[in-house]
Every structure is written in structure tokens, then in C-alpha cells.
């Protein structure tokens, strides 16, 4: 064939081969994307966007400005470090704003917002709710004295400093609260110790997850090793003992731990029966950190064993045999030859278990008690009890960022497309 023949071949249908190949490739890509699109849109609209929009609540703070626009404007000229109360104009603006806000029922929302930062706002606002609508803005001044008569906190510097500090449309306030800081005085400072909880909880979540991860590795490695090194028929049978817990409801496993670890539970009953523990001195194993660690290690153990096993299965036994034939002891052969080859499995299992543990809610809630609480439980508490959605967003963002970093590491180490289940 000559070159001209080839060229003639390539220009089939008047189109160069290169271009028609490119078109075919483009069509193939389009088809793949079309197949993925419905799901991608579903996840995007139903999952990613809601989470992002929930997290933006952590910086949104328009309630103060929207409800008390004149007051916020009047406070602009007042120095937050000043030792004097704001001028009469601010109090008058407050009265004017409240006269609009009270019928709109937004005044209490401001009080609720400010209450997240400093206690006492609800009472102050309730007093104002009763009196302010009857005031005549033209004739009833000066308003500073009138506010002070309602509640003495209207005359405290802290009140106005806090209001000014948290009046901007976007705030870092919730993030500061999420790391136990406040700016009620106009400057960032640590919260008093009795209100500082979040950093401790983040730290506790991290170290307990780390410990659970380590324990799961300690217990999971021998089991995976055994499974990978016995006859496949036996391994498949033993694997059921790993897969059954994996498939059993999380709630079932948590409730059985609750039953087992109680003061009157099976474990204590057994310990009393064999005489290790006195009947009137039963061990407290639940509603503390111990209970959470024992239960979560058991619950997450299959997530460690399965990736380890799938890596160990691929390690050829001939390497260890070769090492031994060259004079290595059992230990050296394991530690220098086998173990390094199992490290990818350790990475996969450990990161997976850690990611899952960090976000755990159910188990710490049911067997943790106050001392075994994780950060997720705090988020749920802020949601239900305080309704502080900004703080939920801020705590959630920090937790999510930590998880995303781990997810990224997992992708680098294992590859998302290599996740295996059972």
C-alpha cells in the first residue's frame, strides 16, 4: 500500500480519520455522561447543595441587622471600647426599631440570637415587648432612662458591646463559638471554662476514634492474617463470622452492648458469678468512655478486617517461604517480608474506620453518657435543645472539613474506585 492509498482510505466519506475518531470519542463521552447525569444531578440537588447551604448558616447573621436597622446604624458611631453607654440616639433608634419589630414578632428572634452569645436577652426583650409599643417616639424621651427602668441590663456596657459585635450581616461568631471563643466584649477572647466544651469534644472525638482505630487494627490484623492463610474453604466459613456482624443492624449491636454492659447486665453477672467482682461493687462499664470504646471497636472491626483480608489474600506465600529458606526466623520473615506487603490494607482499613468513627452518633448517644459524648452528639444537642443552627453549621463545617481531608487521603492511598464491601 502506498501513502496515497492510506490517505484515500482515511478520507472515507470526505472526512479525515482523525476527525471522525475524535467525533466518535466525543459521542462516547457524551453517552457516558448522559448515563451518569440523572444520579449526579440527584446527589447534587438532594445532598451536596443542602449540605453546603446548611453550612453557610454558620456565617449568616442578618437577623440583628434586619430587625434593628436604625439601632445598628446608630451604633456605628459608638466606640465598642468606650466606657460610656451609647448616646441617647441609640436608645431612641432601639425604641423605633422595636415598635416595628414587636408586631412583626421578630424582636424575640433577635433576643434568641443574642442569647446564644450572652444570657439574659430574652428577659430584657420581654420587658421591652410590654412597654415599648405604648411609647410615643416624639414626646416620651429620653429613652435611655425608660429602657433602664425596664431592665437594668439595658444600661450595662456588655449588652451594647455584644449587640454591636454581633450586628454585622456575616459573622465569624459561630466559628468562634465552635472553638470556645467569644467576642461579646468586642474582642475575641476565650469562653469561661464552664462553657468551654467544643475543643474538648473535638479532641475527645479524635483521640477516641484513633484509639478505636488502633484497637480494631490490633484485633483485626490477626483475624485477617488467619483468614488469608488457611484453606479457602475454611476461610469462607470463618468469614461469615465477620460478615454477620457487618450485616447486623447498628442499632441491634448497640442495644446488645447496652444489655451486656449494664450494672445488672450479663458481663457483670458473669464476673460476679466467677467471683472476680463483689455483688455490691459491680463494674460501671456503660455511660462512659469504656462502653463507647468497647462497643464501637466491635461495630467497626469488620470494616478493618475486610480491607486487610482483601490485601493479604494477594500476598504470595512464596516470599515468606523464600525468606525462611534464606535463614530468616519466623518473626523476621513476618516483620521484614510479610508485614510491609500488608501495609496498603492497614492504610485502607485504618482510614476507613477512623472516618466512620469520627462521625459516629448513635453508639455514643446510647452507651456513652455525658463523658463518652462525641462531637456529633453535641451537634445534635445544639440542634434539638438550643436550636442554634449557626453553631450547628460551624461545628458541622469543622467536622466535615476534617472528614474531607481524610477522604482525600483515602483517595490518594487506596483510590475511591477500590473500595470493597464484603
Amino acid at each position: 500500500m502506498t501513502t496515497t492509498d492510506l490517505e484515500a482510505d482515511a478520507v472515507r466519506g470526505g472526512e479525515p480519520l482523525k476527525r471522525s475518531l475524535a467525533r466518535a470519542l466525543r459521542r462516547q463521552k457524551m453517552r457516558a455522561l448522559l448515563l451518569i447525569a440523572p444520579l449526579l444531578i440527584f446527589i447534587f440537588v438532594g445532598f451536596l447543595m443542602p449540605i453546603v447551604s446548611m453550612l453557610t448558616r454558620s456565617v449568616e447573621n442578618n437577623i440583628v441587622q434586619d430587625t434593628l436597622p436604625q439601632t445598628v446604624a446608630a451604633l456605628q458611631d459608638w466606640d465598642i471600647d468606650s466606657e460610656d453607654l451609647p448616646p441617647e440616639a441609640v436608645f431612641r433608634a432601639m425604641a423605633a426599631d422595636l415598635q416595628i419589630a414587636i408586631p412583626d414578632r421578630t424582636a424575640l428572634q433577635v433576643a434568641r440570637r443574642m442569647n446564644f452569645e450572652a444570657a439574659g436577652w430574652t428577659t430584657m426583650m420581654r420587658r421591652a415587648l410590654r412597654a415599648v409599643p405604648d411609647w410615643d417616639l416624639e414626646t416620651d424621651g429620653p429613652f435611655r432612662e425608660r429602657f433602664l427602668d425596664l431592665h437594668r441590663d439595658w444600661g450595662s456596657l456588655e449588652t451594647w458591646r455584644a449587640l454591636k459585635a454581633y450586628s454585622s450581616e456575616y459573622t465569624t461568631g459561630y466559628y468562634l463559638a465552635a472553638v470556645d471563643r467569644t467576642m461579646v466584649s468586642g474582642h475575641v477572647e476565650p469562653l469561661p471554662d464552664n462553657q468551654s466544651l467544643h475543643l474538648m469534644l473535638f479532641w475527645r472525638t479524635a483521640w477516641m476514634s484513633g484509639l478505636i482505630c488502633f484497637l480494631a487494627l490490633l484485633l483485626g490484623y490477626p483475624v485477617a492474617f488467619l483468614l488469608a492463610n488457611i484453606k479457602e474453604r475454611h476461610a469462607n466459613l470463618l468469614l461469615i463470622l465477620v460478615l454477620l456482624p457487618f450485616w447486623t443492624s447498628l442499632l441491634v449491636r448497640t442495644s446488645s452492648w447496652k444489655v451486656l454492659l449494664q450494672d445488672q447486665g450479663v458481663v457483670n453477672q458473669f464476673l460476679v458469678w466467677i467471683g472476680l467482682v463483689a455483688d455490691d461493687n459491680r463494674l460501671t462499664m456503660i455511660n462512659n468512655k469504656f462502653g463507647v470504646i468497647v462497643a464501637m471497636t466491635q461495630i467497626l472491626l469488620p470494616f478493618m478486617i475486610l480491607p486487610l483480608y482483601s490485601v493479604m489474600k494477594t500476598i504470595p506465600p512464596s516470599y515468606v517461604r523464600a525468606a525462611k529458606s534464606l535463614g530468616a526466623t519466623d518473626w523476621t520473615a513476618f516483620w521484614r517480608v510479610y508485614f510491609p506487603q500488608s501495609v496498603p490494607g492497614i492504610g485502607a482499613g485504618a482510614i476507613l474506620v477512623f472516618i466512620m468513627a469520627v462521625g459516629y452518633y448513635i453508639t455514643p448517644e446510647l452507651v456513652g453518657g455525658p463523658s463518652g459524648m462525641f462531637i456529633s452528639n453535641r451537634i445534635a444537642h445544639q440542634w434539638y435543645v438550643s436550636g442554634n443552627w449557626g453553631l450547628v453549621g460551624a461545628l458541622g463545617t469543622i467536622l466535615l472539613l476534617a472528614v474531607l481531608v481524610l477522604y482525600w487521603v483515602y483517595d490518594k492511598v487506596v483510590g475511591i474506585d477500590n473500595v470493597k464491601l464484603g
Binding site: P222, T248, Q269
Partner: protein, 283 residues
């Protein structure tokens, strides 16, 4: 790892010690699941073995907790809710997930890694964050506290599992088969149902089992997105465990263990069938 005949005494000791250690770990894995089964037949309202039970006296056992489960209207309603929500959620995640998994396993997919990362993310994001986010979203579009709200939320949570299992089976799929079907005149739809689907069916089924159990076990998201009318079995258990723990929970737990054994057996059967089919093909 059989013990060779020339093993030294030390090696022998270690060989058996290692097996004992593994036995203890298996015990730790299984004991909490197994122990609730006999406890659920307790004739008393206790969570421990009564002396009658330990003596295997028939008077110590009864079915009263099961009776309570089957007659109590709260538990029955919860069971019905779980059984109507989980299959619908499974259907949605499996149909969309399978389609996407087929798309993802084509040879040229732009942004494959990023897409994969997004589709797997519902499994990674802490549930409490997903739940809070979905609460606001479903409230805004009027689905909060409705059946469909819970179904869609659960469908999202089940998708990563479908994607993972179906893409895993797609890896072993012989692409020339679809080409062969096309060359013989079958359209893409017919090729899919007659050639592709039967071959990837084990993956699709195990994916749907995962999606089903995800929805069936899920507590956090349903509490946020659902209302009392969508109270599911795990939700009812969660309330029972947090407030007053009633022994009926043990009966429910035992039934749920039965369900997981059933699911596991199905999966195991599928795996064997799949292996056999692959063993026959001249790979």
C-alpha cells in the same frame, strides 16, 4: 498455614496460641449478636439470664416479648413504615445507581475521579451533617415529614453502596459482548436488558441488598427528615433504648438478626454463582 512436621515446640505453642487469640476475637465479634437471642425469650422483664434460664427450666422462657411486638400497635406501625420506605428507597437508588455505574465503567469518562468522589460522598459525610442539611432542604421544598422525603433521603444514602458493588462487577464485564449484540442488530436498550443486565445482575442484587439494609437500619436521617407518621423500626428502637429500655427491643433485635442472616445467605449464594459463572468463562 498448616503446622509442618518439623516445627519446634515453640512454634507449636505459638501456632495454637495464635488460634486461641483469633478464637477470642471471633467471640468478641459474635457474642453480642448471639447473646440477645436467648435473652429475648426471657420470661421476666430482665436483661440478664435468670436462674431458671440458666437451669434450662422451661418456665424461665416465654414468647411474651414477641407477643408484645406482634400485638403492640406502635411496633406494628413502625414495621409497616420500615417495610414501605426501604423497598422504595432501594428501587430508586438501584435504578439510578446502576445506570450511573454503567456510565462510569465506559472507557472514556471525563472527570471520572471527581464524579466517583461525589457519588460516594453520602457514605463518608457524617450522618448528623447529612441529616441537618437534608432537613432544611426538604423543609424548603415541602417534603419534610412526608413519606417521599424519607424515601429520597434514604435513596441518597444507599447510592454509594450500589455504585461500589455494581462498578466492581462491571470490571469483569467483557465489553466485546455488547459489541457482538450490536453487530447482530440489537439496539442499546435490548442489549442492556438481554446481555448486560443478566451478567451484572449479581452486583446489582448485592447493591440493592446493601441499599435496602442501609435504609432499613437508618436512624439519624429519618429522625430529622421524617415525622411521627414515618417512625421506622430503628427509630422506635432508638427511642426505646434512650428512654425506658423495654425487653421487646430484644425480640425485635433477634428478628433483625434473622433478617441479616437471610441477607447474608442470599449474598453468599450470589457470590458462589458468580464465581461459578466466571470459572466457566475462558478468562
Amino acid at each position: 498455614m498448616a503446622l509442618p512436621t518439623y516445627a519446634s515446640p515453640l512454634q507449636r505453642i505459638w501456632y495454637y496460641t495464635f488460634r486461641v487469640i483469633c478464637g477470642i476475637i471471633f467471640f468478641y465479634l459474635m457474642f453480642p449478636i448471639l447473646v440477645i437471642i436467648p435473652l429475648s425469650f426471657n420470661a421476666q422483664d430482665f436483661f440478664t439470664f435468670t436462674p431458671e434460664m440458666l437451669a434450662l427450666d422451661p418456665a424461665g422462657f416465654s414468647l411474651k416479648h414477641y407477643e408484645d411486638f406482634f400485638t403492640n400497635s406502635d411496633w406494628q406501625q413502625a414495621t409497616r413504615n420500615s417495610l414501605t420506605i426501604a423497598p422504595m428507597a432501594t428501587l430508586i437508588s438501584v435504578s439510578l445507581g446502576t445506570l450511573a455505574a454503567i456510565g462510569l465503567s465506559q472507557s472514556h469518562v471525563p472527570f471520572k475521579r471527581a464524579i466517583m468522589a461525589i457519588l460516594i460522598s453520602p457514605m463518608i459525610v457524617p450522618l448528623i451533617i447529612s441529616a441537618a442539611g437534608m432537613y432544611f432542604f426538604f423543609s424548603a421544598i415541602g417534603l419534610q415529614g412526608t413519606y417521599w422525603g424519607v424515601v429520597l433521603a434514604h435513596a441518597i444514602l444507599g447510592i454509594p453502596f450500589v455504585i461500589i458493588t455494581v462498578t466492581a462487577t462491571m470490571v469483569g464485564f467483557d465489553r466485546s459482548l455488547t459489541r457482538a449484540a450490536a453487530s447482530m442488530g440489537a439496539g442499546p436498550v435490548k442489549t442492556f436488558f438481554k446481555v448486560q443486565l443478566p451478567l451484572i445482575l449479581p452486583g446489582v442484587i448485592s447493591g440493592s441488598l446493601f441499599a435496602f439494609i442501609t435504609s432499613f437500619d437508618e436512624v439519624v436521617v429519618v429522625i430529622f427528615v421524617g415525622s411521627a407518621a414515618q417512625q421506622t423500626l430503628p427509630w422506635q428502637m432508638f427511642i426505646g433504648l434512650r428512654e425506658q429500655i423495654s425487653p421487646t427491643i430484644l425480640a425485635v433485635a433477634t428478628l433483625m438478626v434473622g433478617l441479616s442472616i437471610l441477607l447474608l445467605a442470599t449474598l453468599e449464594m450470589l457470590r458462589r454463582r458468580n464465581e461459578k459463572m466466571r470459572g466457566m468463562s475462558p478468562a
